[in-house]
């Protein structure tokens, strides 16, 4: 049967070739949208690692020229601003964090560990940041005042990074690879491990994270952060926000202060990521509808053109179902070949460097999804024309010209 169908398809290779290209192209379109949607979906299901509700992010920047003589004063001022915010009635907790969740800026570093490159995002953070953001410490502890006196900089890393640095062994108290004496740089030591911290939000790629201890009194490391995070009671009024800003401006008139709620920042992040995907999805859906309608037309014409051949088969005793099956099977054959071509094309994608981040399971799932959709469209497009052929009366068909 299949050999027979192949022969029939081969006889009309020129028109089938173009059809094949069209179906393969649609396959690639479905695959592309599918990969994006599945990728974002899989990110969405991963744990976030923090609680964004009822938290504000306040950026505090000094607009004057930065110079080394003001560093100490700046650090003391940043620490004082933090204390001022904590003292405002109604504020639950406050801490300094350089890049708060959902903020546009990030600091990314690459370390060589045992010959592998480990890439991670990092941010400075002060004591209490775990309380404000609801971070879950799974080993060791968060930063505390006792870290001020250390000759090394205390860091807290997330589970991914702990695994990348030390494998599955306990890591509290160990030196971060590539820092310290042998490299001549500032030594960093791990004081705690948190579960996860996906700074760029629910839809962002999973990544590793490192928090470095920040304190104006620390003997080593960074002295101040550019932003602070503040936990407020649920449904805090605008008046509280105004009071906090007024307090900050009164203490540091030279500094620029700006408040955002994490809820707003999260909404705009999600909107930025989702909008292109939704637009792509709508355009792709229309493309597929168009392809499906076109396919109906093409199959219809092909069948009409072969009235004689199909009529002959009917005259020789083929059943209606048999004819119907033949038409559908030919269409499925072409669709299958097109999907093969499409699959061969798209499985190359993870091999290219710009797409290396794409997990192969997602590519696999997207291929399956695209196959289902395209096969469904092919079958749906073939249904009416193949049914139409069964209405042909054999005698009429043989007379047909």
């Amino acid at each position: 049967m299949i050999r027979h169908l192949l022969k029939l398809a081969w006889h009309r290779k020129r028109s089938n070739a173009l059809l094949l290209v069209e179906i393969a192209a649609s396959f690639v379109v479905v695959f592309a949208v599918g990969v994006l949607a599945l990728y974002l979906g899989s990110n969405w299901r991963r744990p976030l690692g923090y609680d964004w509700k009822d938290v504000w992010a306040i950026s505090i920047t000094d607009e004057r020229m930065r110079s080394s003589d003001t560093l100490d004063a700046d650090a003391r001022m940043a620490a004082r601003l933090l204390d001022e915010v904590r003292a405002v009635p109604g504020v639950v907790a406050a801490a300094g964090v350089d890049s708060p969740p959902y903020a546009g800026w990030t600091n990314t570093s690459n370390f060589d560990v045992n010959g592998r490159t480990v890439e991670f995002m990092s941010s400075g953070a002060t004591v209490d940041a775990d309380k404000v953001l609801g971070l879950r410490v799974i080993e060791g502890r968060w930063f505390s005042r006792e870290d001020d006196a250390r000759p090394w900089q205390a860091v807290v890393i997330d589970r991914d990074l702990a695994h990348a640095f030390y494998g599955d062994t306990p890591c509290v108290g160990r030196t971060v690879p590539g820092t310290g004496t042998e490299s001549g740089g500032q030594e960093m030591r791990v004081v705690g491990v948190i579960d996860e911290f996906r700074k760029n939000g629910e839809l962002a790629a999973p990544g590793s994270f490192l928090f470095g201890y920040v304190s104006a009194e620390a003997r080593s490391g960074v002295a101040r952060t550019d932003a602070m995070v503040v936990r407020v009671p649920p449904g805090a009024a605008v008046a509280l926000e105004e009071a906090v800003v007024a307090r900050l401006r009164a203490v540091a008139p030279q500094w620029s202060v700006d408040v955002r709620t994490l809820e707003q920042m999260r909404a705009s992040r999600l909107w930025e990521v989702c909008t292109p995907v939704v637009v792509l999805g709508i355009v792709a859906a229309f493309l597929l509808l168009m392809v499906g309608l076109g396919l109906i037309g093409v199959v219809w014409q092909n069948v009409a053109r072969r009235t004689r051949e199909l009529g002959l088969r009917r005259a020789m005793g083929a059943t209606r179902m048999g004819i119907c099956r033949q038409v559908l099977a030919e269409l499925v054959l072409i669709t299958a070949m097109a999907m093969l071509v499409g699959t061969v094309l798209v499985v190359q994608i993870p091999l290219f460097a710009p797409f290396a981040w794409l997990p192969s399971t997602i590519v696999f799932e997207a291929v399956l999804l695209a196959m289902t959709v395209i096969l469904g469209i092919g079958l749906a497009a073939g249904l009416y024309p193949s049914w139409a052929t069964t209405r042909i009366h054999p005698a009429e068909a043989l007379h047909h010209d």
Binding site: L18, E22, E63, R64, E241, R260, L287, L293, G297, Q301
Partner: protein, 405 residues
């Protein structure tokens, strides 16, 4: 020609289902392309306050062997290059808009705030609802004044005049001197909710910056060749001494807005490449719909076989037939574009309402329609060439007998 058109219409009306499917394909394709064109026109075309010929400086980069800093241009760079440029009527230096949160009568108001000089209001022509702009003298004296748009006026003061009223922004109390009509947020040179003098800053540090958060625009005098001004700007940039020893080179370019944006994203300031890239993208997008139409048309050769056979037997050349079929396809594309226009205006109206960019009013203007015409013709030709060629090459005898492959 008239007969050809008549035949084309008759063919379209003969098989309604196929015509509808083809029209849907054409209309959908053109609708997407027209929406993109209308958006590009709204972002880059001459409309709103910047409707005259300008060159803009958006980005700057300083680089050394080990370090590199890039971002928007700095005030220092622009102040040393823009004044006194030959062939330029006026020039202005202004900051990128920044979101500022402020509290007014117990409400929280977020405003995109842009710092500008006084010349800004002469290079760009805003539509003032009341009052007027602040002057270069206001800027020099750091006068606490502001121009706001209608939306900000509404949010701060409700309805009624706002002239002379004051509001607090970033710790300073500002007096409203003018109210302008809302500028769409996609107009990247002019958009803001509140405009204030550049000098209303906490420090003078910005005056030294080569890379910072400023942009510059030069209004070209009539008859000036833009590329001469670009070249002179590049020469002036190269003469700026670099005080920081870590850096060796400073680069910044002046271009028309579209080229400046496109070249900072994709290409190194080659306008032809940018336009070529857009056409390539449009053609790629047309690919699948065109293929769809090609397949549909090819499968319909049978219908036309006897016609082709007869015409060939009576001496019609392949060329004449190919032209006829191509024309039929272009007519189909034109009919499709008639459907695409109302569809496009519906999509644009939905986009305008959705608030995905504030104050936008995407419209189908004459420029967009012109582009739409070009795209329609391109689509008609791209999807019609192959079937026309295949049909015209049918062998007359075979065609008359109904053999077609």
């Amino acid at each position: 020609m008239r007969t050809t058109l008549k035949i084309a219409l008759k063919v379209l009306l003969r098989r309604k289902f196929f015509t509808l499917v083809s029209l849907f394909a054409v209309a959908f394709t053109l609708c997407v392309l027209l929406v993109v064109t209308a958006m590009l026109d709204h972002v880059f075309g001459p409309n709103g306050p910047d409707d005259r010929r300008t060159l803009v400086v958006l980005n700057a980069e300083i680089a050394g062997e080990h370090s590199r800093m890039n971002g928007s241009a700095g005030y220092g760079l622009l102040a040393r290059t823009l004044p006194g440029m030959p062939g330029v009527e006026r020039s202005t230096i202004f900051a990128e808009p920044r979101e500022r949160t402020t509290y007014h009568d117990g409400r929280r108001i977020v405003c995109d705030t842009r710092r500008t000089d006084g010349e800004f209001w002469k290079v760009f022509r805003f539509d003032f609802v009341e009052g007027g702009p602040y002057t270069p003298e206001d800027e020099a004296q750091a006068a606490p004044v502001a121009v706001v748009n209608e939306s900000a006026r509404e949010r701060f003061f409700g309805s009624g005049s706002a002239l002379g009223k004051t509001f607090e922004l970033d710790g300073k109390r500002l007096r409203v001197v003018g109210v302008v009509r809302n500028v769409p947020s996609v107009r990247m040179l002019t958009f803001a909710d509140v405009w204030i003098p550049t000098s209303l800053s906490r420090s003078d540090a910005y005056k030294q910056e080569l890379v910072g958060d400023f942009q510059g625009a030069m209004l070209l005098a009539p008859g000036t060749n833009g590329s001469d001004v670009s070249a002179e700007f590049a020469r002036r940039v190269s003469t700026i001494p670099l005080e920081d020893a870590r850096f060796k080179t400073l680069s910044a370019q002046a271009h028309p807005l579209f080229v400046a944006v496109a070249s900072s994203v994709l290409f190194e300031g080659r306008p032809a490449a940018v336009v070529g890239f857009l056409w390539l993208a449009a053609l790629l997008f047309m690919g699948l719909p065109a293929l769809n139409l090609v397949n549909l048309n090819l499968s319909r050769i049978l219908e036309r076989a006897s016609e082709i056979g007869v015409r060939k037997s009576f001496g019609a050349t392949s060329g004449a037939l190919a032209r006829q079929f191509l024309l039929e396809n272009v007519v189909l594309a034109l009919c499709g574009s008639l459907l695409a226009l109302p569809a496009t205006s519906i999509v644009l109206a939905v986009l305008n309402r959705s608030g995905f960019a504030s104050y936008t009013a995407f419209t189908l203007n004459a420029r967009v329609l012109g582009w739409g015409m070009l795209l329609t013709l391109a689509f008609g030709v791209v999807s019609g060439v192959l079937p026309a060629w295949r049909m015209s090459r049918l062998h007359p005898v075979g065609a008359l007998q109904g053999r077609f492959e």
